[in-house]
């Protein structure tokens, strides 16, 4: 029975919703031209928020959820007894353009199950991108999920059409991948990322005549890792992220708490990890990217403390480095103060040229003083015994949640 466009969209959007990355940021600014709709601003816009609090920026949809791979954690895996559908290229194009013209989306995030072979699938996706870019002149944002195992030549082709490419590492350890996604090859995934980095860098070099080559994936590449499906500890995950950021210049690593999928395989844990774990990983990831921490510093081993944000946890382990004097300390050390964000630190550095900073000034500049208090010193503030106090950890951790009646 032929499915209606509504049914196909429902099946293929549901199948795509487990991909956490939604951003449309980091692209080059680019305006609509005569007869060509769309532009990207470089910062990305969330056009709507679903009741799970996540942003809708792109039409995130699979080309098809038929798949010859059998990755245990995936609702579209080969052995799943689930309704299947495929959107025709023209249908993807029309949905993208019509939603875009109504200001519902920034563009398209196209992923797919693997049909016939990785290369065949990738070619079909590239065909959709070609129609959008070349026939429709679409200048909005496109994020293309690179199919695992697709050849370097097709990645090169895709990067000329898409703003962002992403290759999912899926699981943090090779052993996990071998157990849960037997047909994915960790080394092959990294090689694809390396190809994207090399091509991106080549596209940034001017030719001897000063001409710029056409941009290649101008919004860079990202990846997603599923948390809690295999036994990997947070420390392993963060070390992997650190390697990926440095090795392939990833813009983002997305952490997606494993969600039990319908009819889950018995190779998987029956319960999802708490969403808090995902949240803590994002916080720790932020420390890697913007606060000058190394993965080793954030977490030498094991899992992140669920009760404390990773920066506070680090500060408690390094009390001898505190209190930090906000009137004198360098940027690097200010960034390590719990409750100070990058903006707060910038404001402190700017404001202290004018005055000796006081407690009240810090509040004005956006510091979270409840958390920062034991760790900072200002003109009229010294933590005294607060820093060494026995109960400091309990003071900073949120009160334990009352057990719900059962």
């Amino acid at each position: 029975m032929a499915r209606t466009l509504h049914q196909k969209l429902q099946i293929l959007a549901e199948a795509a919703r487990h991909d956490a990355s939604c951003a449309s940021s980091g692209g080059q600014g680019r305006d609509a031209r005569k007869g060509e709709p769309g532009h990207t601003t470089g910062s990305g816009i969330c056009h709507a928020f679903t009741p799970d609090g996540r942003c809708i920026s792109l039409l995130k949809v699979l080309m098809t959820n038929f798949c010859i791979f059998d990755c245990a954690y995936c609702p579209s895996r080969l052995s799943a007894d689930t309704p299947r559908a495929r959107l025709a290229p023209e249908e993807v194009v029309q949905l993208t353009i019509e939603f875009y013209r109504r200001n519902m989306i920034e563009g398209l995030f196209l992923s797919s199950g693997i049909i016939r072979s990785p290369d065949d699938t990738m070619q079909d996706m590239i065909r959709i991108l070609r129609i959008l870019r070349e026939r429709e002149g679409f200048r909005g944002y496109i994020h293309l999920k690179v199919i695992p195992g697709a050849s370097a030549g097709l990645i090169e082709e895709a990067g000329l059409l898409a703003d962002r490419l992403s290759v999912n590492v899926e699981l943090p350890t090779e052993a996990g991948l071998a157990r849960l996604a037997p047909r994915k090859d960790a080394q092959d995934i990294r090689r694809q990322m390396a190809t994207i980095r090399l091509r991106t860098e080549a596209a940034q070099e001017r030719s001897p005549t000063g001409r710029r080559p056409p941009p290649f994936a101008p919004a860079g590449q990202s990846t997603q890792v599923i948390v809690g499906a295999d036994g990997a500890a947070d420390a392993e995950i963060l070390r992997m992220s650190e390697q990926l950021y440095a090795g392939y210049r990833l813009r983002r690593v997305y952490y997606s708490a494993y969600v039990p999928v319908p009819g889950a395989s018995d190779r998987l844990p029956p319960r999802p990890p708490p969403l808090l774990r995902e949240h803590r990983l994002y916080q720790a990831d932020w420390l890697l990217r913007h606060y000058g921490f190394t993965a080793e510093e954030v977490l030498p081993a094991g899992d992140l403390d669920p009760d404390l944000d990773p920066k506070t946890a680090w500060a408690l382990r390094h009390r001898h480095l505190f209190p930090v004097d906000v009137r004198r300390a360098g940027r690097e050390m200010l960034l390590r103060v719990p409750g100070f964000g990058t903006r707060t630190v910038d404001r402190i550095l700017s404001a202290r040229r004018h005055r000796a900073l006081r407690w009240e000034d810090l509040r004005h500049m956006g510091a979270v003083l409840g958390r920062a208090a034991p760790f900072v010193e200002a003109e009229d503030w010294h933590p005294r015994g607060l820093l060494e106090a026995e109960g400091l950890r309990d003071r900073l951790a949120p009160p334990p949640q009352q057990l719900s009646l059962f």
Binding site: H47, N103, L198
Partner: protein, 551 residues
Amino acid sequence: MPHVILPRIGTDRAWREAARACLAARLAPERVTWSLGEAEDLLFDDDEVPPAPRPGTVRAPAAFVELAAQAVWHRDPERFARLYGLLWRLRLHPRLMDDPADAAVAQLIRMARAVRRDIHRLHAFVRFREVGDRTAPRRRFAAWIEPQHLTLEPAAPFFARRFADMDWLIATPDLVACFEDGVLRFEEGASRPELAEDEADALWRTYFAAIFNPARVNRRRMLAEMPRRWWAQMPEAAAIPDLLRKAEAAARTMAEAPPREPPLYARALARRAEAAPPRPHPPGPASVLAGDLAACRACPLWEGATQPVPGEGPPDAPLMLVGEQPEDRDDLTGRPFAGPAGDLLLRLLAEAGIDRAQVYLTHAVKHFNYMTKGRQRLARSPGGAEIAACRPWLLRELELVRPRLIVALGATAAAALTGRAEGILRRRGGIEAGPEGLPVLLTLHPGHLLRLPDPVAAEMETEALRRDLITARRHLEGMAAGSGGDADASPSAEANAPRRAGGSAAPRGSRGRVPDPRPPQPEPGRSSPASIPPSRQGHAPSVPPRGVCGG
């Protein structure tokens, strides 16, 4: 006392003009009052109209101009006076803008932020509906929205850039933005127009419901990002209460669905996939090793690396160059000497008269060892354990290629080939015995030269490496010219020669060039190959010569 009435359209420019005039007339903030009028023109409601100042006579910091351009759209009736008050103080304290702890600055910064957020939400939450003919060359759309501040005017250029190829209208209670044939204009506010749903709205609701994951309901987050005041014009908002009501049941159904038998087609496809042959390795000499090497877990270096980097070159190369470990770029491309150190080495090879195509290039350790520093990977020399773990691969390469001379670049390669890393600076330029007695010429790694901070030292070391490579070439040529011609070049090479098919008789070292008949010249100040005492050449490598290459 002057009272300034600002127009509703172009308020930002009008305020700036008036503020300039007041400032030039030295009007203290408490002597001016401000309001927003109906008219399009700037009015001074008094006869003390200050004259417009000459351009360049009134100055304000750039940060203030930017702040004012945003805060002026805030709904706070005091915004004009607040801005002028700050502008007045800036005359005497021009650095005031850098002090976010100042109460007036902080207040205006907050107002500007509220305006920016409102503009951002306009950009995000406007929903167009089609009001014209779908097939017309220029399609027509319209939208209604109620922003918190007076932000349609600053927000509208965004839509002009984005939807340049269609006509559109955005109506708000304060102002209407109208874009026709590429021209943007504003009119006085309107009441809400009737805009009929179109088919895309229904599809959008389908998408909105499907992309929502009922297992992760987070109502508070949604409301924080998309407050209810914006819902009125969003077609998807109508679906939210229903989605929330059914979420828990939907999540339970998902989680509790029992494992089901795979469908029949799945089994057939799985069988077919298993029967498919594995993907062949790329052609080339490296592929001999590549398959096994990829599976190597003998040391932990594989974990952080992209891929192992096998050697590269003709399978019968007379000369093998062994580096330390892959560089960053080697790791990314899977090819040895693909980065800056490799570029330098290839240049020096060419300058030394060695044809790159006749050289087998490889590394002592095949996976990239590094530490991360922010977004950089900094190479870290492999340790003894890693060198030992990787040594069997190097020996396999030696066995496959059987070069007549090996050049060890740096201490790591020296350790892998001679068993000793120490004293590379003293030993460089000399030939020692490697596995199975193969002659190994020791020198420094090109990457080391790139790291020397002193350009003079770097130039001297580069020259020394070039000379070592020339020595290698001459050594090979000496061997190729005949075993009698250059007896002291390397006894071990001679011992090695008969093992090779066609060994010393074949002019392999010539590589199409006329062999240089001169024996290698000892370099002044350094030990030449000829000067190596026999005892040192006989210094046994740590690996027994028997069996390592022959399996």
